[in-house]
Symmetry: C2
Subunit: 240 residues, 2 copies
């Protein structure tokens, strides 16, 4: 893990860019004399890890007392996109806008992306936990499909918050029943891109008994800001 | 309003029993030099307002900085039950345990009870807001059907938290779309006495855009304790 830049923000948080092989990431750590718990923030949809809402979430969680890390998955943010990636994203967008079924595009594009992204998170986790300023336990927050797989294969993940979950590859829908860690499942009741019933079915499927559902109005990007605070409090119950 | 007893609890909260005509109630107020916002706690199912979980909730909200009031609705707690009340409750319990439809018992028994209880809450609200230690705004928490009617007819209610909501009389299911105040709707995902889909349909029907759904596991009486805290924080956003 190589840190390529760092800055101390107004609220005392240290923000560092890093690379780990071909994986680019950002790490936010609070001012603390003792090692702090870690939250991994996953994102999908081709977004950059430095998209403003993601950064604001990360900084709020860091201010709450967590180390927070984000990486760009293959084809996201700073990483190269293949022509096939571009085509698949365009097909997915067009089908969603037209209200057509997207399951097959999802299986062929997002399914393999999950398979590639999860080991990258595990490698990143190895490197982060080797830093003296970070201790366990570890929470995961964000992209549902990657979070399901991580929760199943990675025993160091102690609690997870998932978002949306209307479209999730078949493999992760089946893995959901094997998730046994505490979960906070957040969805937008009127999410234009995520069928509500499928998200509720996924919540129902999780194997853990310690699962909480939160739903709000405002469309896919309209999650109220207090949910970031609720997420931090959820992690405080399980990571401290 | 006549106070019939009072005691100062260990945490500094003043707990007073009162009567208002034939309505018996309890008021919890925090130590405060300034007037505080008020939360009304409604309960149904024939419970007593001094049932231990209700009292614990009330005291936690009072410790958070609210005045909290509970009254026994007709046929509840300290109030006389008619032979017809006893029969209706027995019928309802038997039908629910047998998995039979309960809508008609609900309409004929709970419907009129809501009609009687809501004006009692309004009378109680008049008396409480006349006390120098209590100011607005006012929140309501608990029994869904009474809360829906109150939210529709009582402009002094600024925000509300509802619980369960699988069975709600037809009149309140229709009034739900007229509820426009901020709502926190709490249900148990595996509530043995409240059909989940009906509760979700009710959440969907509320007219307000500021509505949040919380769901947990653990059966009807198994709501995790952190939801009391979440409720206080919800009210803090709207009553302060």
């Amino acid at each position: 893990m190589q840190f390529t830049s760092e800055q101390r923000l107004d609220d005392g948080i240290l923000e560092r860019e890093f690379t780990l092989g071909e994986i680019p990431g950002t790490l936010w750590t609070p001012e603390s004399t003792a090692p702090v718990p870690l939250i991994l923030i996953g994102h999908n949809g081709g977004l950059h890890r430095r998209e403003s809402r993601l950064v604001a979430r990360a900084r709020q969680s860091a201010a709450y007392g967590y180390a927070v890390a984000a990486i760009d998955a293959p084809g996201h943010g700073d990483r190269p996109r293949s022509a096939a990636d571009e085509q698949a994203r365009a097909d997915l967008r067009r089908a969603m806008q037209a209200g057509e079924p997207v399951d097959e595009i999802f299986e062929s594009f997002i399914g393999p992306l999950v398979d590639k992204t999860v080991p990258e998170w595990q490698t990143t986790l190895d490197a982060l936990l080797a830093l003296p300023e970070i201790a366990g336990p570890v929470g995961y927050s964000g992209w549902t499909a990657v979070g399901i797989r991580l929760a199943v294969v990675e025993p160091r993940i102690a609690a997870a918050g998932f978002f949306a979950g209307g479209y999730v590859p078949r493999a992760q829908r089946e893995e959901a029943r094997r998730v046994t860690i505490p979960l906070l499942f957040l969805l937008q009741w009127d999410d234009e891109g995520n069928p509500r019933q499928r998200a509720l079915d996924l919540f129902d499927a999780f194997g853990t008994k310690e699962k909480t559902l939160h739903a709000n109005m405002g469309g896919h990007t309209g999650t109220p800001w207090f949910e970031v605070d609720d997420g931090d409090r959820f992690f405080a119950r399980h990571l401290k």
